[in-house]
Symmetry: C2
Subunit: 147 residues, 2 copies
DNA sequence: TGTCAATACTTTCTATGTCAACTATTGCTT
DNA sequence: AAGCAATAGTTGACATAGAAAGTATTGACA
């Protein structure tokens, strides 16, 4: 039964899981050490800043960060308390509430972005050789059902 | 600043993250639906069964499942309560306690293994084309610092 | 042999996330 | 316009995991 676990394909899968765990751990540890924020906060800062108008609804933020709605509310709560983001009620639709960066949030992002980009470079991108990028991009697109 | 986010390499990294989240979600959902256990329990069952003598110490189980020691204790607690595994004190070293499968645990594994192997096949392995396996294996090995 | 650092596991405290129920608001349909 | 399903966000109950301190046991070494 477990012999199917010993194929090269399964081994790749297994390494995929371990690599993911390792990367997440190190990204989080580095961001906490250098910038004093967890990876989840960095994610929010980035996704707010990437949005047109530098503002996101909770729902969209949930899609981007792959979190549940309740989870987003609480994550944003903590970041509001820390002063990195603020909520701004939408005029057009009073159910909506936009998440925006505060000055402090913008500063924190400017500080954390190079840190995180360096980590990604060092732990992930650096190991991409020759055609690896294209191969892996194709693979992940298929996994995600894109195109 | 964010322009480095728009390179093909970063895009691969981003898809890697999204793919991981998607796969974990679906594996867990399928195992819960079909076999009524979470992915974390399946992981434990597999790692116990793969061990020589079909028994693992908590410490080793933690290394295998990438979990903290306290996390392992409680995860095993829950599975003991559910009757899938049991703890067996070590004679040689009375600090150690081995985790072993119960009959019920062995049955559950026999039921869950094909389910999970099918999921992995369908959601991951199926999308590996031609030389993809070798390319990705090499990449993940480098990421993990193997060899 | 007595001491003490290391090891194995447990436990407490806390952080964080999910699910489902709830509230408010919107906008479609008649 | 009234009714009502859909949408946005919050909240309560609960599940789970990590960090660090605590307990028991082992083994090395003076």
């Amino acid at each position: 039964m477990t012999n199917r676990l010993e194929t090269p394909e399964y081994r790749v899968f297994s390494r995929f899981l371990i690599a993911h765990a390792k990367l997440m751990r190190e990204f989080d540890a580095t961001l906490r050490e250098v910038c004093d924020i967890p990876l989840s906060w960095f994610d929010v800062l980035v996704h707010v800043s990437l949005e047109p108008g530098q503002r996101v609804t909770h729902t969209r933020l949930g899609e981007r960060t792959l979190m549940s709605q309740g989870g987003v509310t609480r994550l944003v709560d903590r970041m509001v308390k820390a002063g990195l983001v603020a909520r701004r009620a939408s005029r057009a639709d009073r159910r909506k509430s936009y998440v925006v960066l505060t000055d402090s949030g913008r500063e924190k992002l400017a500080e954390a972005m190079p840190t995180q980009l360096d980590s990604i470079q060092e732990l992930f991108v650096q190991h991409l050789e020759d055609g690896d990028t294209e191969v892996m991009d194709g693979f992940f697109r298929r996994v995600l059902g894109l195109e």
